[in-house]
C-alpha cells in the first residue's frame, strides 16, 4: 500500500477574534492520495481556506495530526516547512499574487531561484512552463500588462515549475470571467493528468466543481460529505 500524500486526523483549528474564539475546523479527518484532484467546497466561513492553509504548511493545527508523505509536519522547524513548501507544494491564489516588479518569466523563475539552481537551468525551466501555459510570447511582460486569465496562468506556471507533489489552488477562478475560468480549470486538470501532480482546490464555483472528480464538502468546520463525482451524494453526518 502506498503512503498517502496527506493524512489528517482529528484536526482542530481555532482563531482568537477579539474577545471570542472562532472554531474554524472541528475534528477534520481526511486522506488525500498522490495524483488525486480534490475540490474542497462549502459556504463562506466553512473552513475551506483554513484547511488549505494547513495542507499548504502555512499554518499549524491546534489539535490533531497532519502527516505529509507520512511525515508529521508539526515537528518540522519553520525553515524546514518553508523548504518543503518550495520543493513539494505549488500555490495558486485567488488574486494571482504575482510580484508586480518582476516580469512573467521572472515570477516563474522565483521558486527555482530560491532553490539556488543554476541561472541557465532556471531560465530554461521557466521558459518551458511559460510555453506550456501558452504564455511564451508574454515572458517579458509585467503582471500589470497581462489579463486576469494570463496572470493566473503565470501563477500556475510558477506553482508547477519546481515539479511539486501538490498544487493548492484557493478560489483560482474567483476573479476570472467564464472563459478564463474554464481555461484555467482545463489547464490544471490537464497538468494533473499529464504530470500526476495532486491538485487540491478550495472553491464554491460550480464550473470548477464539475471538472474535479473528488468533492469534499465542509460545513461549519466539519467534513459534511466526501464523494467522487460519479458517486451519489452521501452525507457523512
Amino acid at each position: 500500500m502506498t503512503t498517502p500524500l496527506f493524512q489528517l486526523s482529528g484536526i482542530h483549528r481555532r482563531f482568537a477574534l477579539g474577545e471570542t474564539t472562532v472554531h474554524a475546523l472541528r475534528g477534520v479527518d481526511l486522506t488525500i492520495a498522490c495524483g488525486e484532484s480534490v475540490a474542497i467546497w462549502g459556504p463562506s466561513g466553512s473552513g475551506k481556506s483554513t484547511l488549505l492553509n494547513l495542507l499548504g504548511l502555512l499554518d499549524s493545527p491546534d489539535q490533531g495530526s497532519l502527516r505529509f508523505k507520512g511525515e508529521d509536519v508539526h515537528a518540522l522547524s519553520d525553515d524546514a516547512r518553508t523548504d518543503c513548501r518550495n520543493r513539494q507544494i505549488g500555490f495558486v491564489f485567488q488574486s494571482f499574487n504575482l510580484v508586480p516588479v518582476l516580469t512573467a518569466e521572472e515570477n516563474v523563475m522565483l521558486p527555482l531561484q530560491i532553490q539556488g539552481l543554476a541561472p541557465r537551468v532556471i531560465r530554461q525551466r521557466a521558459g518551458e512552463w511559460l510555453a506550456r501555459v501558452g504564455l511564451e510570447a508574454f515572458a517579458q511582460f509585467r503582471p500589470d500588462k497581462l489579463s486576469g486569465g494570463q496572470r493566473q496562468r503565470v501563477a500556475i506556471a510558477r506553482a508547477l515549475v519546481t515539479g511539486p507533489a501538490l498544487v493548492l489552488a484557493d478560489e483560482p477562478t474567483a476573479n476570472l470571467d467564464s472563459a478564463n475560468s474554464l481555461a484555467v480549470v482545463d489547464l490544471l486538470q490537464q497538468l494533473n493528468a499529464e504530470t500526476g501532480v495532486t491538485c487540491v482546490f478550495a472553491t464554491h464555483d460550480p464550473r470548477l466543481l464539475a471538472h474535479v472528480p473528488r468533492h469534499v464538502q465542509l460545513v461549519d468546520g466539519r467534513i459534511d460529505s466526501d464523494r467522487h463525482a460519479h458517486q451519489p451524494q452521501e452525507t457523512l453526518a
Binding site: N53, G56, L58, D59, D78, D79, T82, D83, R85, N86, R87, G90, F91, F93, S95, N97, V99, P100, V101, L102, L110, P111, Q113, I114, Q115, R158
Partner: protein, 408 residues
C-alpha cells in the same frame, strides 16, 4: 533569489519615496563630508602654523620640571652643552635625517630709543630656523647667518615701536643670574605670527645672541626636533623617551600638538561640532530609512506572504529589506559624494576668505577631502541604515504567512 535585482526593482517601484530617502542621505552625507573637508584644511593650516610658523617643530625636549620650575631656577633646568651633544647624537642615531635645534626663550623690553615695550623672544640658529620653517622658508621673517645681531620681529611689535627692516633697536633682559643685560639689534625683517596674542610681542633672535644676552653660553632651555616625517611624531616620542632614559637623561618630550594650545582648542571645538553634525545626520538617515522600510513592509505585506509561501525563508525576507536599505544608503552616499565634489569645487573656485578667531589676517576658505572620515561616515551610515531596516524586516519575516496573505 536575486535579492539585489529585486531590491533595485522595488526601489524603482516607489521612486518618489526612494528619491526622498536617497536625497536626505545624500544631503546629510554631503554636510558631513564638506564639514570634515573644511576642518581637514583648517587642521592642515594649523599644523603648518604650529610646526613651521611658530617653529614648534615636531618634538621638544626639556629637562624634566623645566616647564614648572624653569623660570624660577633657570640655572638648574637649562640643558648643558654636553647634554645637548649627547641628545643630538641620540636623536641622529634613531632618526638620521632629523634636525635638532637648541632653543632659548627670553623676555624683556624692546626699545627704539624713545619708547619701550615688552617682548617674548626665541633664540634659534639661522640655519635651524630656515629648516624649521619648512615650506615657509621663502617667506618673510627669517634670520641670517651673517647677521649675528640681526633679529626679526612680529609686525605688530614693529608697528608699536615704529621699526622697519634696517632699523636698530635695543633689547633689555634679565640674565640667568638676575642681572640686567642689554644688546643692540638690527631689524632684519618682520613677519606675521598668525596669533593676535603674540603679534605685538614676538621676535626671533640668533641663538648665540640670546645665549649672550641671557649670559648662558652654549646652553638651551629646550631642543626642538624636526623629524623627516610628521607622521613619525608619536612613535619618535616613545623611541626617544626610552633611548634617553636608557642613556640616563631625565627629559620630558612633548609633541607639537601638546605645545600648541591653539591647535588643540580649535581641533577640540571642530571635532565636537563634527560629532554634533554627524549625530544629526545619522538621526535623519535612520529615521528616513526606517520610515521608508516600514512603509514598504506594510505595503508589501501580501507580497511577503507570497514569497514566504513559495519557499523564501524568514532570513530571505530580512535579507531582501536589508539589501534595499543598504542600496539606498550606498546610492545616497554616492550621490552625497557627487554633491560634495560639486560644492567643494564651487567653494574653492570662489576663493572666499575669512578672519579666523584670534587670527591676524584673512585666510582662504578651502574645502578638502578627508577620506578617513568619509569612509567612517559611509560605514556608520550603512550600519545604521541596516539596523533601521532590520526592525521592520524582522517584523515582516516573523508575521504568520496566513496573516500576510490575508492582508488587504
Amino acid at each position: 533569489m536575486k535579492t539585489l535585482h529585486l531590491g533595485i526593482r522595488n526601489l524603482r517601484r516607489n521612486a518618489r519615496r526612494s528619491l526622498t530617502t536617497l536625497l536626505s542621505i545624500a544631503f546629510g552625507f554631503a554636510a558631513v563630508a564638506l564639514f570634515s573637508g573644511y576642518t581637514r584644511e583648517v587642521y592642515r593650516g594649523l599644523t603648518e602654523q604650529a610646526v613651521h610658523g611658530e617653529l614648534i617643530g615636531h618634538l621638544n625636549l626639556t629637562r624634566r620640571g623645566m616647564k614648572q620650575e624653569g623660570r624660577l631656577h633657570p640655572e638648574r633646568y637649562l640643558l648643558r652643552p654636553d647634554e645637548i651633544t649627547r641628545i643630538t647624537a641620540l636623536v641622529h642615531q634613531q632618526y638620521p635625517g632629523a634636525l635638532v635645534a637648541p632653543r632659548l626663550a627670553l623676555s624683556g623690553l624692546a626699545s627704539n630709543g624713545r619708547v619701550s615695550t615688552i617682548f617674548l623672544a626665541d633664540g634659534v640658529g639661522a640655519e635651524a630656523m630656515r629648516q624649521l620653517r619648512g615650506p615657509r622658508f621663502h617667506g618673510s621673517g627669517g634670520l641670517a647667518e651673517n647677521a649675528p645681531q640681526g633679529v626679526t620681529v612680529a609686525r605688530g611689535l614693529a608697528s608699536l615701536l615704529g621699526l622697519r627692516p634696517g632699523d636698530d633697536a635695543s633689547l633689555l633682559v634679565s640674565t640667568l643670574h638676575g642681572q640686567a643685560n642689554a644688546a643692540d639689534a638690527t631689524i632684519l625683517d618682520t613677519y606675521g605670527t598668525g596669533n593676535a596674542g603674540l603679534e605685538d610681542k614676538a621676535l626671533f633672535l640668533p641663538l648665540a645672541m640670546a645665549q649672550s644676552l641671557y649670559d648662558a653660553p652654549d646652553r638651551a632651555d629646550r631642543l626642538t626636533i624636526l623629524l623627516p616625517d610628521i607622521a613619525q611624531t608619536a612613535a619618535a616620542r616613545a623611541r626617544l623617551a626610552s633611548a634617553c632614559a636608557a642613556a640616563g637623561l631625565d627629559l620630558e618630550i612633548s609633541t607639537w600638538q601638546e605645545e600648541s594650545a591653539f591647535y588643540r582648542q580649535v581641533k577640540g571645538m571642530f571635532d565636537m561640532i563634527f560629532s554634533f553634525i554627524l549625530a544629526i545626520v545619522l538621526t535623519i538617515v535612520v529615521m528616513s530609512v526606517a520610515n521608508a522600510m516600514g512603509m514598504s513592509v506594510v505595503e508589501r505585506t501580501r507580497e511577503i506572504g507570497t514569497l514566504r509561501a513559495i519557499g523564501l525563508r524568514r532570513s530571505g525576507v530580512v535579507r531582501l529589506f536589508v539589501t534595499e536599505a543598504l542600496l539606498l544608503v550606498v546610492l545616497g552616499c554616492l550621490a552625497g559624494m557627487l554633491l560634495t565634489l560639486l560644492v567643494r569645487a564651487g567653494v574653492n573656485a570662489a576663493a572666499l576668505s575669512y578672519t579666523p578667531p584670534n587670527g591676524t589676517g584673512r585666510v582662504l576658505l578651502r574645502v578638502g577631502l578627508d577620506p578617513g572620515k568619509l569612509l567612517f561616515t559611509t560605514g556608520v551610515l550603512s550600519l545604521l541604515g541596516l539596523l533601521a531596516a532590520l526592525f521592520p524586516a524582522r517584523r515582516a519575516a516573523r508575521q504568520p504567512v496566513t496573516d500576510s496573505l490575508a492582508h488587504v
